[in-house]
């Protein structure tokens, strides 16, 4: 299976899960940002360029799933993926707890940035009083699912890369 097909499969599966079980799994109305997690991990495992492409499409799929204007998530997710990719080398040798904190932070940042962009484009429900609480809870909840998703995303975006590059990008597989 080539990389494009793997990415397509993961995106469809992610969209289905995000709009079904992860819509129901909420704490105080706040839930898991599965597609944002896929974006973050694609930057982590796939490097900045592949991560940016994958997360752009992930953002578009998320825009369709949550019925937000097409492009809002696609505008933010590549930025997050590239930022995570650039920071990845610093975290690669850190303990698992530090990397988990990094993922939670990245998710929370993604939620806040998306809300800010949504607000700029006139989406009033994007910026609510409970936004900081939403970002924190979504970050923590999403991080809980990061380990299995990380393996899947690693399998998805690392294919076709030379071994030494894969070792550099794919921290968890080293």
């Amino acid at each position: 299976m080539n990389t494009s097909l793997r990415v397509l499969t993961v995106l469809i599966a992610g969209a289905i899960l995000q709009s079904s079980i992860f819509t129901e799994m909420r704490i105080n109305g706040m839930g898991v940002e599965l597609l944002l997690l896929i974006s973050i991990l694609s930057g982590y495992h796939g490097g900045p360029i592949r991560g940016a492409y994958v997360s752009f499409w992930t953002g578009l799929v998320n825009d369709c799933v949550v019925a937000s204007p097409l492009g809002i998530h696609a505008l933010i997710y590549p930025v997050i993926a590239v930022a995570v990719s650039n920071l990845e080398e610093r975290f690669i040798s850190e303990k698992q707890i530090v990397r988990a904190f990094g993922i939670a932070l990245a998710v929370a940042t993604g939620v806040l940035l998306t809300a800010a962009v949504g607000h700029i484009f006139g989406e009033k429900t994007f910026n609510t009083n409970s936004l900081p609480e939403t970002a924190i809870i979504a970050g923590v909840m999403t991080t809980c699912f990061s380990k299995p998703i990380s393996r899947i995303v690693n399998w998805t975006v690392s294919s076709g890369m030379p071994k030494e590059v894969r070792a550099q990008y794919a921290g968890s597989s080293r």
Binding site: I12, A15, I16, L17, Q18, S19, S20, I21, F22, T23, E24, M25, R26, I27, G29, M30, G31, E33, G47, P48, I49, A52, Y53, F56, G59, L60, V61, N62, D63, C64, V65, V66, A67, S68, P69, L70, G71, I72, A74, L75, P78, V79, V82, S85, V111, T114, A115, G118, F121, E123, K124, T125, F126, T128, T134, A138, M161, P162, E164, V165
Partner: protein, 277 residues
Amino acid sequence: MPNRSSDRPRVVLLVLMAAALTLLTAQFRDFLPVDDFQQGVRDVISPFRKVVDRATDPFQTVWNGIFNYEEVSDENERLQMEIARMRGEGLRDEADRELLERLLGEVDIDYLELQTVVARIVGVPGGNYNSHVVEIDKGTDDGLEEGAGVITKAGLVGYLDEVDRSTSLVRLATHPDFRVGVRLINSQDEGLARGNGSVGLLILDAGINVDAEVSIGEVVVTSGGRSIFPQDIPVGRVIDPDKEADYARSIEIDLSASLENLSFLNVILESRENQSK
């Protein structure tokens, strides 16, 4: 090894951001293929989503039992109190209903006879941003159209924001972008009410004179005209007429339909043209 010069990711990122902004512009300019693309994606995943929903239903029940126990418990308590209140105040409710019907009858209201489709609420859209939006189990296959009004027997609920083949999203009246033309039954003054993100409240702050006589408890209905809603659908009652306003009034309306506890909705099928005939 792939080229890892520091410039290339930046160029790729800029191109992708430009693409996203182009898509956003197309969306806000009502460029139809963009909407169709979104609807197509949702239609494609919809059957798989239903299968996953059914398959994971026991897990979702356990999750709700653990993490939403308090909410379920509170709702149970609320429902028990509601039953007790309904039993104890049945006569007063009946009198209230008669009063409402009499008031609505005076202006020849027959909103209950509108042609509607009954839809069940299946949940809220995914993600963390869509408050004041609910998803229903009917779509274009059932004859629904974007912009159709949504009501219950208690009154106004919202309108259809997105309509897919088998599901639709309802923008509730409390959504900050919701607007509806309304009329005060006693004074017959008309104005524009809006949602403000608060639970169960609409704000009427446009079109009503500062010196207009508005009383607490006054019934508010839709005004019709160029609105997507037929006229005379009950909206709610005034709870704060803001009589001491100096320049612009901000009248608070308590919605007659309880939007937090909805299970079934009625989507109005009749188009505006048909209603005016």
